[in-house]
């Protein structure tokens, strides 16, 4: 059975690597001795443009770098920061590894899930605004609990600060 069942309308893939983005990629080619080495940066460019990395986008990246889609997919799925499915308008990462855990990170997760309307980890709120993801060490252990909302790094988050933080992300 096809994973794209009947009735699923999939918009055709608009190429990412055109115009300025293509020029940025071409510039990257001069910074590495192989095109393959541009894979991580190219995937970042796709995610910047589209918010996530779809199968057709994987195909496009493979094509521009001379790799196979299977190879690119293997790399995409290795790294946790690449999204292989659509996420909310604002993507929230919260650290719960031991140093933050002993300082109350799990309560921050609960507050984020409740206040964002996501309900559970990995789910997107019904208004499409947030997705909350529990992540391993964000490298700011002295400022427990650090969270990231999109590219913003926010330190020393406690459950009572959560609603104020979320308000900044309409």
């Amino acid at each position: 059975m096809s994973s794209q069942g009947a009735g699923t309308q999939t918009a055709p893939h608009e190429p990412v690597f055109v115009g300025q983005t293509r020029a940025r990629l071409e510039h990257l080619f001069t910074r590495y001795p192989t095109k393959q080495a541009c894979l991580l940066p190219a995937l970042w460019m796709v995610q910047e443009a589209r918010g996530w990395i779809s199968e057709p986008a994987i195909g496009e990246v493979a094509d521009v770098l001379g790799l196979t889609p299977a190879y690119v997919k293997g790399v995409v799925t290795f790294y946790t920061m690449y999204h292989t499915h659509p996420v909310g308008r604002h993507f929230i990462q919260v650290c719960t590894t031991s140093p933050c855990n002993i300082c109350g990170a799990e309560a921050v997760v609960q507050a984020l899930l409740a206040e964002s309307g996501c309900g559970e980890l990995g789910a997107t709120s019904s208004d499409g605004r947030f997705t909350v993801s529990e992540v391993e060490c964000l490298g700011a252990c002295g400022f427990a609990t650090p969270i990231m909302v999109d590219d913003d790094f926010i330190e020393s988050v406690t459950p009572d600060k959560v609603s104020g933080i979320l308000e900044r992300y309409p």
């Binding site: 970042w44 290795f78 590894t97 140093p99 002993i102 391993e136 490298g139 252990c141 590219d151």
Partner: protein, 435 residues
């Protein structure tokens, strides 16, 4: 200095002197504070003379392994005609460690200067700075600093008019702890999954893109300009009687302390002074119970062991653990050790690249067995099972991720066995729902 706290009189401030000083971030501000003198001096010396100076200083790798830096540089071939590479490891992801982040945020040019000196010393024209993907602010600051240093002629095709090409390229990671392992990092830069490589060949022989490569940690490289300017003897003198551990070390302290943050001390400082004087001791009404002194990958120390230890490579080993990255996780008497050891095991299970069976299966099963104990279904045999698993995870894999998972388990059972027993015997309420 004790960023984000005021400097403590017992600190020795070298690398952290300008933490919090926004003017030090820019090229001109950095030069006004004596910046780039080390690089200028280096460019007037031969690579061999620089390597000798760094060797004489006693500088050892600050990322965790503690390998002598000058010696590492001397492994790079000479006159081989191949491109050489320097890789700066800014993937800081070891739980408990957050020092490289401050170096990049506050003194980006100190790092660039150190990279440039190292690149020249090992015959590399190109340095890749691999920054973890989550460090959005350091990424931005470092990218700006590279641009500025190029524009000022300090780096690029003709560094300070020396005729030497020193290019800095920033490579953003994408969320994988294992990429902090040097061979995994090289694979990641090459556009591959971050699987560690079998050694040999060592990176100095066949590293990034198959070429001779040296990988150094941010803090290691940031110390190099100081050694060039003030001399190896000065650096060597920054210790307390142990000539094998010299210089200053940034310590990240987190967990249950009054003043978490970064502190900079000379090697050999009593750990007790760090815990109580600098970090301010435990929260009110609490007592310390345990310390993981070198990032989560090293054995757990009881507070008695920690209070007795001198903070340097040998001093921590003498008390049963390792200095590692000096990311210090401090736990007070409110801590459920079994729960936290489980949380660490879960970290390693998540971060295993899954190449080696011992690691892929071992980290996952360790996590599951600890989960069973925490859910009140533990058995007496689980002690033996966990220790047997850990034995099979130690020294048997391509990299040390699986050893790192075993370290807190083995030391935890050894030192806090009564807490495991309490769950197994039912005298403690389950912390997790039965799965």
């Amino acid at each position: 200095m004790g960023f984000p706290h005021p400097s403590h009189p017992k600190e020795t401030v070298v690398l952290s002197q300008y933490f919090g000083d926004a003017e030090a971030r820019g090229f001109d501000g950095w030069v006004a504070r004596g910046g780039y003198e080390g690089l200028r001096k280096a460019l007037s010396l031969t690579p061999e003379a620089i390597i000798d100076e760094v060797k004489a200083s006693g500088l050892r790798g600050r990322g965790g392994a503690g390998f002598p830096t000058g010696l590492k540089w001397s492994f790079m071939p000479k006159g081989d005609g191949k491109p050489h590479y320097l890789v700066c490891n800014a993937d800081e992801s070891e739980p408990g460690t957050f020092k490289d982040r401050e170096i990049m945020r506050w003194t980006p040019h100190a790092l660039l200067e150190g990279c440039a000196i190292a690149a020249y010393a090992i015959g590399a024209e190109r340095c890749y700075i691999y920054i973890r993907g989550e460090f959005t602010e350091p990424l931005k600051i470092m990218a700006g600093a590279v641009e500025e240093a190029n524009a000022k002629g300090a780096l690029g095709g003709n560094a300070f008019g020396s005729g030497k090409r020193i290019e800095m390229l920033i490579h953003r990671g994408a969320g994988a702890y294992i990429c902090g392992e040097e061979t995994a990092m090289m694979n990641s830069i090459e556009g591959k999954r971050g699987n560690p490589r079998i050694k040999p060949p060592f990176p100095a022989v066949a590293g990034l893109f198959g070429m001779p490569t040296t990988i150094n940690n941010v803090e290691t490289l940031a110390a190099v300009p100081h050694i060039l300017v003030r001399g190896a003897d000065w650096y060597k003198g920054l210790c307390r009687g142990n000539p094998k551990s010299t210089g200053t070390k940034l310590i990240s302290i987190c967990g249950h302390v009054q003043r978490p943050g970064n502190y900079e001390v000379t090697m050999g400082t009593p750990l007790k002074e760090i815990l109580y004087d600098m970090a301010g001791g435990p929260p009110a009404g609490r007592e310390f119970k345990a310390v993981i002194p070198g990032g989560s990958s090293v054995p757990i120390m009881t507070i008695a062991e920690a209070e007795d230890a001198l903070f340097d490579y040998e001093g921590i080993v003498a008390k049963g653990s390792m200095l590692g990255s000096a990311g210090m996780i401090v736990m007070d008497d409110s801590t459920d050790m079994v729960y936290q050891i489980w949380r660490l095991a879960k970290f390693y299970a998540h971060e295993s690249c899954a190449q080696c069976t011992q690691c892929r299966e071992g980290t996952a099963w360790t996590t599951k067995i600890l989960e069973r104990i925490l859910s009140g279904k533990g058995r007496q045999e689980d002690f033996e099972l966990l220790l047997d698993l850990s034995e099979n995870m130690t020294g048997k894999t391509i990299c040390v991720l699986s050893d790192s998972c075993a370290a807190p388990v083995v030391s935890g059972i050894q030192k806090f066995r009564d807490e495991f027993e309490a769950y197994i015997q039912g005298s403690r309420q389950p912390a997790l729902a039965a799965g």
